[in-house]
Amino acid sequence: MNSNDAIFAQLATLGSSLVLLFGIALLWRRSLVAYVRAFRWQSLALALVFALIGYFGHNRELYIVAVILVVLKVIIIPGYLSRLYERVGGKREAQPYVNVATSLIIAGLLVSLSYSITRPLAPVSKLPTRNGIPLAVGLILVGVFVIISRRKALSQIVGFLVLENGIALLAALGTYGIPLIVELGVFLDALMGFLVMQILVYQIKDTFESIDVEQLSRLRH
């Protein structure tokens, strides 16, 4: 491994750690404003990782992806999210099902778990970015945990967006980016999925007069 690769490996791990850290930030913050801010920073860090891999991996397509990421996930989606919580109210996450200390311990366990399940990948890959892969899988698991443990529909949306960022990170680190046409399809789906969730939040607000998903328990047997 030459020195260029060594620097690249260091930077990639650093970037991935940042992306993961912003994901875990959701677990100790309560206000939706902080959630959106954390998501925005996370997406920015993710875009930087993409640009980094584009630079060291000599793949110009990744610059395009990074730019789309910034436009979509740093500007457009957080903007919509802010407007959403201003309109439907409920700026603070109610007491989550799991308290902060336990959440953080669980997040730690999830990241350790992801190190053990990604062990078969390590000897296969010769990419300098491979050290970041467990962090990406960890972020995916943390995203799922946020969705399960939060009570407000909006927090669940942010959890889902974080999960998507985790998968994008995994794709970038593991494969230096999937083909551009696929990447564009994924972005389109992400945006549409987000917009549909937003529509549903408005409908939940209209019909239930609250966005606490505790209320969504009518359907049984």
Partner: protein, 488 residues
């Protein structure tokens, strides 16, 4: 050319539905007729593949491809779509929906059909993923058509669970591609299924195992394999009946298709029965959960949803049982598509008549609406696997494939599955009995919904009977061709 004939009609239908406002019945009729074009193209693909000809490809980078497996799924999706479009609200019947709702319905359901057809004709497994994700989006928008509390709740649960599932499937796709990149470097066509399969034997089994678990959990969530099935009764129960029919028949088939595509690649890479064993385990779990949920169900739509979970389990079983099992599973998939696309429409008609989807309210069905009741009974008897319906044959073939296996534990699993089927059978029959006979509530007016609707439904039932009596040669050839692709 055939690809255009397959994929353009639903897009044109969506466009027509969008442009014509307010909704008029002629739009519904036009869209139903247009879907016949798609069905024709799908049948042409199937005929082509049944003769064992080379799979046609289309577009830049061989974007679309129709081998036997794709062709079978195209026929399933297109046939179920045609049936449900003819039986949609606002097509030749009075309806409770407002005109804006009908317009939205026609727009979204055609986009939904388009995404399903794209998913089965995509050559690239990541494009297939994109199309499957799009099905979640369009159906989640359509479930709360009436905006009442139950449907909004069902839709929220559906999109959340569905999106997480499909995201995990994408992680699996990336992991599959990861090994490919490590092997041969980046390549534009690497995610095309034939290329993936060709290179699969050189991939690392350990990596492929990890990828397949993600894919099975992800697409399994879409297919409603237990324990990822929890959205099913809610979504099927609350969606507009025609959408529920399409989701439980066509969308389910497409999700199983995605699993099967990846299973072929995984088998080639892993070289032992890892994927088979996973499918058998989850299949048994699905059967168990379905059997006990049916025994508790008090709502006939949710009961039908648990029947879907049951058949999901059976098809998982078949896919894990080698060549004979795959043959049986695909035949079962065809039967299930025919039966389920009717049942939810009929359930919708019954609910409209009785104003409730509770089993104890819907009594005296045979006196209130003999045709609707009779068809519902025939469909349910087909679903529990009684002769002379097709599912009897496919379940028989499936269990024969299972009991022919060498491993003792597989035969034990099959025996357990048979027992669970029996439990479900008893629950279904007692519930059907309660609905068919007895005194109807006084306020229910006797009469069928619309007499002409009986014709397409009868056609579906007759197809099920035909499949129970013979196995048509073209279908057998097509299934043989698919088995040749899938289990080598």
């Amino acid at each position: 050319m055939k690809f255009l004939l397959l994929l353009l009609p639903p897009l044109i239908s969506a466009l027509v539905a969008y442009v014509v406002r307010p909704y008029r019945a002629v739009v519904g009729w036009l869209n139903a007729l247009l879907s016949l074009l798609s069905l024709g193209a799908a049948l042409a693909f199937a005929g082509h593949a049944a003769r064992g000809a080379e799979a046609p490809v289309f577009g830049p980078g061989e974007l679309l491809r129709a081998d036997g497996l794709s062709a079978l799924l195209m026929v399933c999706v297109a046939a179920a779509s045609t049936l449900t479009l003819f039986l949609s609200p606002g097509v030749g019947t009075e309806t409770d929906y407002a005109q804006t709702q009908l317009r939205r319905y026609q727009l979204l359901i055609n986009l939904f059909i388009f995404s399903m057809l794209s998913a089965v004709s995509a050559n690239n497994v990541a494009i297939m993923w994109v199309a499957l994700e799009a099905t979640t989006i369009f159906s989640a928008l359509l479930i709360p058509l009436t905006r009442d509390k139950s449907s909004v709740e069902a839709s929220w649960k559906y999109i959340l669970i569905g999106s997480v599932g499909i995201a995990l499937a994408f992680a699996g796709t990336v992991l599959g591609y990861f090994d490919f990149v490590a092997l041969t470097g980046r390549a534009e066509n690497a995610l095309n299924w034939p290329v993936l399969l060709r290179n699969a034997p050189a991939m690392h089994p350990e990596v492929m195992k990890l990828a397949f678990v993600f894919l099975l959990v992800g697409y399994g969530t879409k297919a409603g394999i237990a324990p990822m099935h929890t959205w099913k009764p809610d979504a099927y129960g609350e969606a507009p009946p025609a959408l529920a029919a399409l989701m439980s028949s066509a969308l389910f088939a497409v999700a199983m298709y995605a699993i099967l595509r990846w299973k072929v690649v995984a088998d080639a890479a892993i070289k032992d029965h890892y994927a088979d064993n996973l499918l058998l385990t989850l299949g048994l779990l699905s059967l168990a959960i379905a059997a006990f949920s049916v025994a508790q169900s008090r709502n006939y739509k949710r009961m039908l949803a648990y029947s879907s979970v049951e058949h999901t389990g059976l098809i998982c079983f078949g896919l894990g049982l080698g060549a004979a099992g795959v043959f049986a599973a695909l035949l079962h998939l065809v039967n299930h598509t025919a039966a389920k696309s009717l049942m939810f429409v009929l359930a919708g008609d019954i609910e409209r008549k009785y104003g409730s989807s509770a089993i104890k309210q819907a009594r005296g069905l045979l006196t209130v609406a003999p045709w609707t009741g009779g068809l519902f009974a025939a469909g349910l008897l087909a679903l529990v696997g009684l002769p002379p319906f097709g599912m009897f044959i496919s379940e028989f073939a499936l269990f024969r494939a299972g009991f022919a296996q060498h491993h003792l534990w597989v035969r034990g699993l099959m025996a357990a599955a048979l027992l669970l089927l029996l439990v479900a059978f008893v629950s279904f029959i007692t519930r059907l009995n309660r609905m068919l006979y007895g005194e109807a509530p006084a306020e229910v007016v006797a009469g069928e919904t619309a007499s002409w609707r009986v014709a397409p439904m009868l056609f579906g039932i007759l197809a099920l009977v035909a499949l129970g009596l013979t196995l048509p040669a073209p279908l057998k050839n097509l299934l043989d061709q698919i088995v040749r692709i899938v289990s080598r």
